[in-house]
Symmetry: C2
Subunit: 488 residues, 2 copies
C-alpha cells in the first residue's frame, strides 16, 4: 500500500462521516419533526468534531507528510489541495474554532429574531463579534493584499480581493446601465400570463420531466420540498435538490429546480470514485454557481427551451393555453428593481452583490463600523437602484450570510454569473453544441460541461479551470454581452 | 463526576452514533435514490463498527467496572442491563461477528431471489450457514435449557425456551379451536363494504387524525410511506412510522398505522433524558409488540372506537355512507385461513407463529435438517390450518427473519398478543380507564400504559414488568378470553 493509499483511507473514512452528517442535515431541512432539533444538533456536533479531528490530527499530518514525501506523480493536484485545506484547518487555534461555532450559532438565532422584528441594534453586537472573529481568522490564514482575501478565498479558492474588486468595478456602471434600460423596457410587459392555478402535483410532474431531460439522474438523486431551496450531495450517487411551490405561479418552483439541478448536474458529474479526494470534489462556489446559473438562465430562459416546453406546460396548466411563446418569454425575462436579493431578476442581481461586497470589505478594513451598516446600505441602495428600503428587514437584515460568519461569500454569486456566460459562450462555439441547443437538445452542452468542468473535480484552480475551458480567466465581457442581448 | 457519569458519557456518545445510523437506515427505506445504496452500506458499516467498539472496548470495560465498583444505589438496574449487553457483545469472537454479518447480507439477497423464483434449494445453503453461526452464537452466549434460549433471550430478555414452549403448547389447541369457529362464522360475513375508492390523501388525513387522537405526538414524530411498514426511533423526540396505501381499501393503511403508532407511543413515552441508558430504552420485543397490538386490536377493532371514527371515515370515503356500524365491525373482525403471516387476522395469527417456533427449535436442536424444512412446514401447515401452501414462496420462504439470522424472533409476536390482552384487561379494571374507553376516550388508557409500561424503560425484566403491571407474568388466559369474546 502506498503512502497515498493510507492518506486516501483516512480521507475516505472522513468522507463517510461527512456524508452521514450531510444526510442528517438534509433530513433536518426536509422531514425532521420540530422537537427532534436538539438531538440532531448533538449528533451533528459529535460528527463535526470527529470529521475535524480526522482531517487535522497527528495521524493525518503524518499520512499527509508521508504521501508528500512519496510524491506520486499522478497525485500532485490532490496533494496540493489536501495540503491547502489541512493548513487552513490547522492554522486556526482550537479556541477560535469553538468560539466561532458558538458565536455564529447565537448570531443566527439573533438574526432571525432581528429580521422578524426589524431590529438591527439587537443583531449588531453579534455581527461585531463575528467581525472580530473573521479578522482573527484572516490573520491566522494570511493574505497578500488585504484581510478580505483570506475569507473570500475560503469560498473561491485562490481568489484575491484585488481581482474581484477589479471585476466588480468594471461591471458596476455597465450593469447599472443595462438594468436601468431593462427595467424601463419591462414596464410594458406584464407577468400576469404566468399566474394561474398550479397544483403542486402538476408542478412536480413538469419539474421532474424537465430535470430529467437536462440529464439529472433520478436513480442517483431526488427532489423534496423545503422553505429554502438547496442542492446537497449525500454520497457519490445521491444528490438531492429541494424547491418550494407557489400554487399560483409554476415558474417559481421550475426556475428553482433549473437552478438546483444545475448544481446537481455538476455534483453528479464529479468522478464518484474520488468523492473523498479533491479530484472528486467541486472546485469553488463561483464555479458551482456557474453551473446553476447556466441551466437556470442561459438554458431555462431561452427561446429554444420554451419552444420545446411551453406545449407541455400548457397541457399541465390550463391558463397557459391562451399564452403565446413571445409573451411568455417576455414575461419570464422581464426586469424590475426590488429590495430582496433572492427575488431579483438577472438584470439587477449583480447590483445586490456589488452593494454587499462594498459593505463587507469596508467593515473588515475598519472603514465603517457595524452600527453604520444600515445607513451605508441604504445610501448605496439609493445610488445603485434609485430607491431606498423602508426597513432594515428588507435592507441589511435580509440575508443570513453574515449571521453565519460568511463574510466573503457574496462575490461568488456574481463570479458564477460571469463564469456561466463565459462557459456558455465557449460551449456554443462548438457547432455540435449550438446546433443541438437550437433544437433544445442540451445533451451536447452537458457533455461539454462534463468534460471541461465536472470531470476536473478540484484538480485545477478555479481560474486555471476557466482558462482551460474558455481560454481566459473570468472576465466580464461574455456576461455583459449576454445581458445586453437579453435585455436591450 | 461519578464513575457512572463517565459510563453515561460513553453511552451517550454511542447513542448519538447509533441514532445517526438509525436515521441513515430510515432514509434508506424511505427516500434514498437506488444508486445511493452502496455508499449508504459503507456509511452504515463504518458507524456499526464505531458503535460496536464504543460499547465493547477496554475503555468501556474499565468505565463499566468502575461504575459497578462505585455501585450507585439508584443505578443498579441500569448497571445490570449494561453489564448484560456488554457480556453478550463481548462473548462473541470478532471473527464470528464478521462472518455473521457477511453471511446474513448474502442470505438476504439469496432469500429475495429464492422467494421470487420459488426456489428453496438455492436458499438452503445460506440457511445452513446461518444455522451453524446461530449454534455457535448460542454456545458463546450460554443457556440453561437448550440453545434456542440463547437466541430467544436476545429478543425477549431473560425468556427461556421451556417457558415459551409451555405457553405455546397451551395456546395451540385453544387457538386452533377458536380459529376454526371464527373462520366458520366469518363465512357469512363479507368484507366488500370496506372496499371503495380511497385516495392516498384522504387516508393520510384519517390516519393522522386517528394517530393524533390516540396521543401520538407529531411534534416528535411523523409518518412516511414504505413498502414494508415499520416504526423507528431516531432520537428521544423523533419517532417515525411508515405505512403503505391500498387505494381500494383504507383499512389496510389505517390498521398499519394503529399498529405502528402503538410502537410509537411506547417510544415517545420512554424517559427521553435517559435515551442512552436502559432506563430510557424499550425492554423487549414481546413488550413492544404488546403496545402495537393493543392499539391495533383491542382499541382499533373495538365498537367504541368505530362509534367515534366511522362518521369521520364516512366523510372521507363515500362508499362507507351506506355501511352500518355492525356490518363494518363484522367486516374488520372477520377471520379466515391464509398462507401469509403478515396478512393473517387476529384469530389465526398465532397458528403461524406456533408453526415457525416448532420448526426453528427443531432446526436448532438438529431434529430436522435444512432440506427438510419445506416438507416439515407444509405438514405442520396442514395440521394447523387444514390446508397446504402450493409453493414455498407462500410457505417457508415468505418471511425475511431467518435470512437475517433472526432465529428465535418469532415467538415475541405471540408474547406480544398475550401481553397486550393481559395489560388491556388490567388497565380496564380501572373504572376511570374503562368508562373513558366506552366513550372512545383513550387518554386514560394511554396514561395507564405510560405509568405501568413506558415510563419503566428497561429497568424491570419483561416478566417483572408484567407482574408489576398485571399481578402475574405472561399467561394465555386474558388473550384466550379476548379471542373468545371477539370471535365466538
Amino acid at each position: 500500500m502506498s503512502a497515498f493509499d493510507e492518506l486516501s483511507r483516512i480521507l475516505r473514512e472522513r468522507h463517510l462521516y461527512g456524508s452521514a452528517a450531510a444526510t442528517l442535515g438534509w433530513d433536518q431541512e426536509t422531514y425532521l419533526p420540530p422537537a427532534g432539533v436538539e438531538h440532531r444538533a448533538a449528533q451533528l456536533a459529535l460528527l463535526s468534531g470527529k470529521i475535524h479531528a480526522l482531517g487535522t490530527d497527528d495521524a493525518f499530518r503524518a499520512a499527509l507528510e508521508a504521501a508528500e514525501d512519496e510524491g506520486l506523480p499522478g497525485q500532485q493536484a490532490n496533494l496540493r489541495e489536501i495540503r491547502h485545506h489541512f493548513d487552513r484547518a490547522t492554522r486556526l487555534p482550537q479556541a477560535l474554532v469553538e468560539e466561532d461555532s458558538r458565536a455564529s450559532s447565537l448570531a443566527k438565532a439573533a438574526w432571525a429574531r432581528a429580521r422578524a422584528e426589524n431590529d438591527f441594534p439587537s443583531f449588531a453586537p453579534h455581527l461585531e463579534k463575528l467581525l472580530g472573529i473573521a479578522r482573527e481568522k484572516a490573520e491566522a490564514w494570511g493574505y497578500e493584499d488585504e484581510p478580505y482575501s483570506a475569507l473570500l478565498s475560503g469560498y473561491e479558492r485562490a481568489a484575491t480581493t484585488t481581482e474581484v474588486a477589479g471585476i466588480l468595478e468594471t461591471l458596476r456602471p455597465q450593469v447599472a446601465e443595462i438594468a436601468a434600460a431593462a427595467v424601463e423596457r419591462s414596464e410594458a410587459v406584464s407577468a400576469d400570463c404566468l399566474h394561474g392555478p398550479a397544483p403542486v402535483e402538476a408542478q412536480q410532474t413538469l419539474n421532474r420531466e424537465v430535470a430529467e431531460s437536462l440529464g439529472f439522474d433520478f436513480g442517483s438523486g431526488r427532489i423534496d420540498a423545503t422553505a429554502h431551496p438547496f442542492c446537497t450531495t449525500l454520497g457519490p450517487a445521491d444528490v438531492r435538490l429541494t424547491t418550494r411551490y407557489d400554487e399560483a405561479d409554476f415558474t417559481s418552483s421550475l426556475f428553482g429546480i433549473l437552478h438546483e439541478a444545475g448544481h446537481g448536474l455538476y455534483e453528479q458529474g464529479l468522478p464518484g470514485d474520488d468523492a473523498h479526494l479533491p479530484s472528486g470534489s467541486s472546485v469553488s462556489l463561483g464555479i458551482h454557481e456557474s453551473q446553476s446559473r447556466l441551466w437556470e438562465n442561459h438554458v431555462g430562459r431561452s427561446r429554444p427551451f420554451w419552444e420545446k416546453w411551453l406545449p407541455r406546460a400548457r397541457e399541465l396548466f390550463r391558463h397557459l393555453r391562451a399564452v403565446e411563446l413571445d409573451d411568455f418569454l417576455a414575461a419570464i425575462n422581464r426586469a424590475g428593481y426590488s429590495f430582496i436579493r433572492v427575488e431579483a431578476d438577472e438584470a439587477t442581481y449583480d447590483l445586490h452583490i456589488i452593494l454587499r461586497f462594498l459593505i463587507e470589505r469596508r467593515l473588515l478594513n475598519g472603514e465603517i463600523r457595524v452600527d453604520e451598516v444600515p445607513a451605508a446600505w441604504n445610501e448605496l441602495f439609493e445610488e445603485l437602484f434609485g430607491m431606498s428600503p423602508s426597513s432594515d428587514a428588507e435592507g441589511c437584515l435580509q440575508d443570513i450570510h453574515w449571521a453565519m460568519g460568511g463574510l466573503g461569500y457574496f462575490p461568488t454569486y456574481t463570479l458564477g454569473n460571469l463564469n456561466a456566460a463565459q462557459l456558455f459562450r465557449s460551449a456554443m462555439a462548438d457547432a455540435g453544441v449550438s446546433a443541438a441547443f437550437a433544437r433544445a437538445d442540451t445533451a451536447p452542452l452537458l457533455a461539454w460541461m462534463h468534460d471541461q468542468v465536472h470531470a476536473k473535480g478540484a484538480t485545477l484552480l478555479p481560474q486555471e479551470l476557466m482558462e482551460s475551458a474558455t481560454g481566459t480567466p473570468t472576465r466580464p465581457d461574455a456576461y455583459l454581452t449576454h445581458l445586453r442581448e437579453r435585455f436591450l
